[in-house]
């Protein structure tokens, strides 16, 4: 089985983007399969990706949702792909992983339906899509709740070891214990919030592995109500604006 993954996020570091992250989770059950990944943002990248798609058994589109539908460069790619398919038939089964910043994963449905329509127009088998809501938050907590606490504990351990041979063993021990508790809480929250994502995306990966046909399915941040989500999101935007020396009052500029 030859799998081609097409990443449509225009951000740098495709695999670290939110849609890239979800797609990589779905790829866990695909380990051992022959997989190739391509970015499909710029025209110059299209031809190489199209060449590989010709012989693919499975194509996985990984795309963010822009204004309720597919991003413009993906529409461009699909149009070009249609011309290619008219020349030489593709036989690949189509799967889609789509992400949006809103809480409801269902808001990805229109983008998934667009690719479904494209598949039907080109006589390709659309086999299902996964829509993930709250993707910005799910992406951010990888860093704030997982990597950052681990890093802090590691730094504390190193500092502690140095201090043991120095002068303040008691103080460093207290810091290490506190940070281990922090680490435990942070990682716990990360796992709780991401549980839906992990379950649904890995399950979707198994569906792809077996090349099953399923209905579009959706997930979002688990164990976090909509209002708590809005609170976290607002806090995130305010802090990001502060990094650019923009105060909250300026954010509402008309």
């Amino acid at each position: 089985m030859k799998i081609v993954k097409l990443f449509a996020s225009p951000k740098k570091h495709k695999k670290l983007t939110n849609s890239g992250y979800v797609t990589n989770l779905t790829s866990i059950p695909l380990l051992g399969k022959k997989t190739k990944s391509f970015s499909i943002v710029f025209k110059s990248e299209f031809l190489l990706a199209l060449e590989e798609c010709k012989n693919a058994d499975v194509i996985i589109f990984s795309t963010p949702v822009y204004v309720d539908s597919l991003p413009s460069h993906l529409i461009e790619f699909l149009e070009l792909a249609s011309k290619e398919i008219a020349d030489k038939k593709w036989h690949a089964k189509i799967y889609v992983v789509s992400t949006c910043g809103f809480f409801e994963g269902k808001q990805c449905n229109l983008a998934l339906e667009q690719i479904k329509l494209w598949s039907e127009c080109n006589n390709l088998k659309y086999c299902g899509g996964l829509g993930v809501g709250g993707s910005e938050m799910l992406g951010i907590i990888r860093f704030t709740n997982l990597l950052l606490p681990i890093l802090i504990v590691l730094i504390q351990l190193i500092v502690g070891i140095i201090q043991i041979y120095g002068f303040s063993m008691a103080v460093s021990s207290v810091f290490i214990v506190t940070n281990f508790i922090n680490l435990f809480v942070s990682v716990g929250l990360f796992l709780l919030f991401s549980m839906g994502l992990f379950i649904k995306s890995i399950n979707f990966g198994f569906i792809i592995r077996k090349q099953k046909i399923v209905k579009n399915r959706f997930t979002t941040v688990w164990f976090c109500g909509k209002y708590l989500f809005i609170f976290f999101a607002s806090l995130f935007w305010i802090i990001r604006a502060l990094f650019h020396t923009v105060l909250i009052s300026k954010m509402f500029k008309k």
């Binding site: 204004v67 309720d68 539908s69 413009s72 529409i75 808001q107 604006a241 954010m251 008309k254």
Partner: protein
């Protein structure tokens, strides 16, 4: 023309030459065939330079203009039940018209509005090949109207590309 003087914004992908008296109205005509930058989804328009796009080209203020206008007409070839690539490219650049913050509308989460003008939104699609495509285009148009402006939306379908004067009267 100042941004706030513009009453109608027309975004179109049809070949068009300004023939009639449309110049007399306070209209911004956006021809999508020009080489505009592509939205990167960075939300710099929310946190870095609020209400402006981070890309400095001729449509860097389009978000602000559309959210202050009274009527927006989008004329586009219907491609896989949505806007054509070039119209979509400009449409994505309108995102500075909303705030990065979230709120609830129609029991769903959407962006909070930057302006409360609630412009009338008209989508004119041409070249749709099937009823399914028309249905999807309609769904996307209504979703855009709720998400962007919390306003009413009209959707029209033409077999062939219409002319702008005709659309202006819709």
């Amino acid at each position: 023309m100042e941004n706030k003087d513009i009453e109608t914004v027309i975004i179109y992908d049809i070949n068009y030459q300004l023939l009639s008296n449309l110049e007399n109205f306070r209209i911004l005509l956006v021809d999508v065939n020009k080489p505009y930058a592509q939205c990167k989804g960075c939300f710099g328009c929310g946190v870095k330079c609020p209400s402006h796009c981070v890309f400095k080209d001729k449509i860097e203020d389009i978000g602000k203009t559309v959210c202050n206008s009274k009527k927006i007409i989008v004329i586009s070839n219907c491609v896989y039940g949505g806007l054509s690539k070039k119209v979509k490219r400009v449409w994505e650049r309108c995102i500075p018209g909303v705030l990065p913050f979230f709120t609830f509308r129609n029991k769903e989460m959407h962006h909070a509005l930057r302006c409360k003008t609630n412009p009338e939104l008209i989508f004119v699609f041409y070249g749709a090949k099937s009823e399914k495509e028309r249905g999807l285009a309609k769904d996307i148009a209504f979703a855009n109207a709720t998400n962007f402006f919390n306003s009413q939306c009209k959707v029209f379908f033409y077999e062939n590309a219409p002319n702008i004067e005709e659309c202006f009267k819709l």
